[in-house]
């Protein structure tokens, strides 16, 4: 089994600052980490790979320092890493990103399963997984909450979709996107940390992908959606009434609030 895991290096969301006046995002004080959902994708891949004698390749697109995310994934057990990095890739939207990732998956060779997290915590679109499947021309199963069974030919998973849960069986090649419920990611091991320090990370630029990648479809030029403006909204104003050792008043006010929004009838 050859499994490709899509990962993204994201800022530590707790430390990102948002400047409301300037409409700017300041990531400078925030460190980076692997997008939390992608750790679940990696864990799913590692478990399947261990039981099928497979190989796990982590793939990311980003600036040179995104290499750290790949080394961390290898420290957690992945076999190898591929970094797609080129100024030409900068400014890519969902479509351009999916186009670049899918062309790299094609170039990397035969694969059975691609696993991605359901969304990134920064871009937050949750669309790249399904679009990569679209550009690869393979089916996908999204919002996978549990992996029930797998063989060399297919995988059975629980997909949370259509206001319910469905047990779906997908034949390879297939892409799945996973939620946090699918597993608990393992921590890096000492042995793998040593390996991650030494391992060679494959780096591909546009030049390496040009046989499978149309230059008009990447980067800002190849991105049909463009951010025109960023707004940092003010937190909505709330009543903000505080009650401490004053239950009676609290209950009275709550009852009135329930009445004024017509949840309770007026007495």
């Amino acid at each position: 089994m050859n499994i490709v895991v899509l990962v993204k290096q994201v800022p530590d969301m707790e430390k990102v600052k948002f400047d409301r006046e300037a409409g700017r995002i300041d990531r400078s004080s925030a460190g980076t980490e692997i997008n939390p959902f992608d750790l679940n994708a990696l864990e799913a891949a590692l478990q399947i790979s261990e039981n099928t004698n497979g190989k796990v390749t982590v793939l990311t697109m980003g600036p040179a320092q995104a290499e750290e995310a790949l080394r961390e994934a290898i420290a957690r057990g992945a076999d190898e890493g591929i970094l797609l990095t080129d100024v030409k890739f900068g400014g890519s939207d969902v479509k351009a990103t999916s186009t670049i990732l899918s062309s790299a998956i094609k170039k990397a060779g035969q694969f059975d399963l691609v696993i991605a997290g359901i969304q990134s915590v920064d871009g937050d679109t949750g669309q790249v997984g399904a679009e990569v499947a679209g550009y690869l021309g393979i089916p996908h199963i999204s919002n996978v909450e549990a992996i029930k069974n797998y063989t060399e030919e297919y995988i059975e998973v629980v997909s949370s979709v259509w206001e319910s849960q469905y047990l779906k069986r997908g034949k390879y090649p297939l892409l799945i996107t996973v939620t946090k419920d699918v597993n608990v990611p393992r921590l890096p091991s000492f042995k793998n940390k040593m390996k991650a320090r030494k391992v060679e990370i494959t780096k591909w630029s546009y030049e390496d992908l040009k046989e499978v990648l149309d230059p008009s479809k990447i980067g800002i030029k190849g991105s049909p959606t463009k951010v025109k403006k960023i707004e940092v909204p003010q937190q909505s104003m709330r009543e903000g009434k505080l009650y401490k050792e004053n239950d009676e008043k609290a209950v009275e006010d709550i009852l009135n609030a329930l009445k004024s929004c017509k949840v309770l009838k007026e007495a």
């Binding site: 939207d93 909450e145 979709v161 463009k226 009543e239 009650y243």
Partner: protein
């Protein structure tokens, strides 16, 4: 003036078991506003059996309804079958704008459609406007809801998924007329994915609830949950839960509120013993009135609550319950 090559708005009307999802009416509501400004038609596509009441989409404002009809093909959430049929329709009618509800299915389907059409897609919009050039401005939160990005597409169709419960439903006009166009599907089966079964859920729909009474890990057992159930029942609401409580197994995942569970926007949200992790707040901060009860005065939930009660929920909730019962007696 030369005629536009891409013209009109197409909304995807989602259905399950022949029932049209309400987000479809919200898309028609917003779609009408946009189509009036752009001066174009507003149309809907629905995939499913003959029996669906597609006339309802006309009553809610659709000028044309494209009904891709098959007795079985669309009765399961199979993105491949849906996508191929929708793509085929879009290629033939060339809408300038295409809107999907950002439901779990819509969010999984729309990217496949966008990839097939090689067009852009903006996820999870909370507002849509027209620019002076009559193109769509798509407004969406990002960075875990901390910013709002205004996005424009320069390829047609301009595609977006739109968050459920963001817009008003289109008003119903029983006498409204429109055109119903029945279409033969181009694909009805998929050998690559087999949908084996729908795993039964208990049928709660927390996203539609007017009141959500949510509990956190201060609830230690199923018995403790009974006062939460009672309060929700008295208010005609549903019971919600933090991710941590769902993880204890006391309550099922359908009740989970948060960024990775259900996003809810009820008229009233009562958070009982929930401290308010960012993940949880992202799923409920847009509620009308937020009431929070917690024994920790520094709980982050209090930062966004209208009514913050510091104290023991095991004492306060029964007091609220008895006050509601007394109120009923006096009606």
């Amino acid at each position: 003036m030369t005629e536009k090559i891409y013209n009109g708005i197409l909304i995807f009307a989602e259905q399950k078991n022949n029932a049209i999802h309400r987000v479809s009416y919200e898309l028609l509501g917003k779609g009408k506003e946009l189509s009036d400004k752009i001066d174009c038609s507003l149309n809907a596509v629905i995939l499913g059996p003959e029996e669906i009441n597609v006339q309802e989409l006309i009553c809610r404002g659709a000028d044309k309804v494209y009904h891709i009809a098959d007795s079985t093909a669309f009765n399961k959430p199979d993105e491949l079958i849906y996508a191929e049929n929708i793509v085929s329709l879009i290629k033939s009618i060339k809408p300038e704008i295409c809107l999907f509800g950002a439901t779990t299915f819509g969010r999984s389907l729309a990217p496949r459609v966008a990839a097939s059409l090689e067009t852009g897609l903006t996820a999870d919009c909370t507002d849509l406007k027209t620019d002076s050039d009559m193109k769509l401005i798509q407004i969406r939160p990002a960075f875990s809801e901390n910013i709002l990005a205004h996005i424009k597409s320069d390829i047609y169709p301009q595609m977006a998924t739109v968050r459920y419960k963001e817009f008003e439903e289109a008003k119903r006009d029983a006498d409204r007329t429109g055109e119903l166009i029945k279409i033969e599907p181009v694909k009805t089966n998929n050998d690559l994915i087999e949908i084996l079964e729908e795993i039964s859920n208990d049928g709660i729909n927390i996203q539609d609830a007017k009141v959500v009474v949510a509990a956190g890990v201060s609830v230690k057992s199923a018995e403790d949950l009974s006062m939460i159930n009672e309060l929700a029942y008295l208010l005609g609401g549903e019971v919600g839960a933090s991710r941590a409580l769902v993880e204890t197994g006391i309550i099922s995942k359908d009740h989970q509120v948060g960024y990775s569970g259900n996003r809810v926007k009820p008229a009233v949200y009562i958070a009982c013993g929930i401290s308010g992790a960012p993940q949880h707040l992202a799923g409920m901060k847009e509620a009308g009135v937020i009431i929070a009860i917690n024994n920790d005065p520094s709980a982050p939930i209090f930062d966004i609550a209208d009514y913050s009660i510091v104290g023991d929920m095991y004492k306060i909730i029964p007091e609220i319950i008895s006050a509601i019962r007394n109120n009923e007696l006096t009606i």
